[in-house]
Symmetry: C2
Amino acid sequence: MSDKFDLKAYLEERRGLVNRALQAYMPQVRGPAFRLNRAMHYSLFAGGKRLRPILCLAAAEAVGGDPGEALPVACALEMIHTYSLIHDDLPAMDDDDCRRGIPTNHKVFGEDIAILAGDALLTEAFSLMSRRELMEGIPPDRILAVISEVAVAAGCLGMIGGQVADVRSEATAVDAETLYFIHTRKTGAMILASVRVGALLSGAGQENLDALSTYGRNIGLAFQIVDDILNVEGDRLITGKSTGSDVSRGKVTFPSVFGLEESRRRAGELVEQSLSAISGFDESASALRMLARHIMERRS
Amino acid sequence: MSDKFDLKAYLEERRGLVNRALQAYMPQVRGPAFRLNRAMHYSLFAGGKRLRPILCLAAAEAVGGDPGEALPVACALEMIHTYSLIHDDLPAMDDDDCRRGIPTNHKVFGEDIAILAGDALLTEAFSLMSRRELMEGIPPDRILAVISEVAVAAGCLGMIGGQVADVRSEATAVDAETLYFIHTRKTGAMILASVRVGALLSGAGQENLDALSTYGRNIGLAFQIVDDILNVEGDRLITGKSTGSDVSRGKVTFPSVFGLEESRRRAGELVEQSLSAISGFDESASALRMLARHIMERRS
């Protein structure tokens, strides 16, 4: 059985686990606000890769934790990711009609409902993480630390800060420092947080947490560089987005600043550094290792 | 010294307290995302009444708590309120150019930044409530319960659900049941939560919490009815909004369903019920009593 086959089965099993949990955790909105329910579910179950929740569960496993205990937080990470995609796609932002091969949220439900569905998914993420009865075995102080970590990563010093810098950089010449500012925040912050909170929830010690933080920081940046590369050369049928859309929009990307070849080299280097950061872990970190390699090989 | 004078001084003192705390708690975004910092501060310090934080502090006092300990949560409530106003004003929603007498956020910073500033304020609210070092004296389990309460009130079953129902009801005939659905959620849920979390943080017992919940539910609905009335007959210079904007937009309001006189009567009745719910409290609830009466008398 090859490594590749193992990963495919693993990813499928984990996606199923996350999808079932998301279905169970999502509140059902009825009555005059039922359209909100449809809009939230539409984007949440639009075929996402579930990378962030899978990383969170894998990090919990790597430090000897029970991935089942981390499921609510893992699902909250995916809700936040989904809200960010809905808002990014809006006409006032990237103005995308299509995501993962299907119409974007505002194309189906209208801009007003799309804005509110994003707001609601962000809010429900925090509602889910504070549902004490779902994480009875975990000390409340630890859950508070996790909520804080996720909020900082998703907030104005993290993901939203990166998104603002990205929007502001369109059609202006951007240096490597600004590119780094954007990428480490826009995608990197939440990927790093996904790894860290999985470990935090399981009571990881400082040494393991430091190693996993280096791992998460490196794969976060590698993930965004590969995203940039796929945007230039990817197959529209696989990525579900128009190839070259970043270029036509004047977006700052790794290939636009460093060129394709150097971007590929840099991503490979980051993945190697992520693997070396967790070299001291035993086979409990196998999933994290496979996920890091998978980031370089992904086509969408 | 008349009651009225006391209230004015009290409100001013509390507004100052909340404003100073908000300034201290707000993260400072620098570098390429600095515009986000300006956009968040612009709306947060645009002269809001700070009703929700003041209610939260007053409820803490009513059950013998230290309002200082409730300040972070009180400020988080105001951040959530501010985010909801920024998003409500967007062209895809109410399309308002003016709020509190000054241009709305998207008019100054653009739609993209306004959406992100709203997202960021919502996220920072949860970041603030999970900052353990600001609430060292409060048991972590209690803080988790407060975060949960705020998230549910602000989420798809609360404020956002109400907003969706409101947007969906425009230009259609709406019955009293739908009107009630909208008003109890859109404004009522967060006003109720403001009162409840102030009490919860201070370790209120179930009996006090029940009484304060009745108080909060009634003033929440009264507040929205008065808002509707002011929209019909208010002075544009005082409310900062165009009078009659709800009518021209086909919005469902209390006056449009019940008429002005019946709306006024109903608001007065709700305020009486809120006062009677807390009649068992001593003078520690004086502020809550004055605030309830103030809701009927307000001009903006």
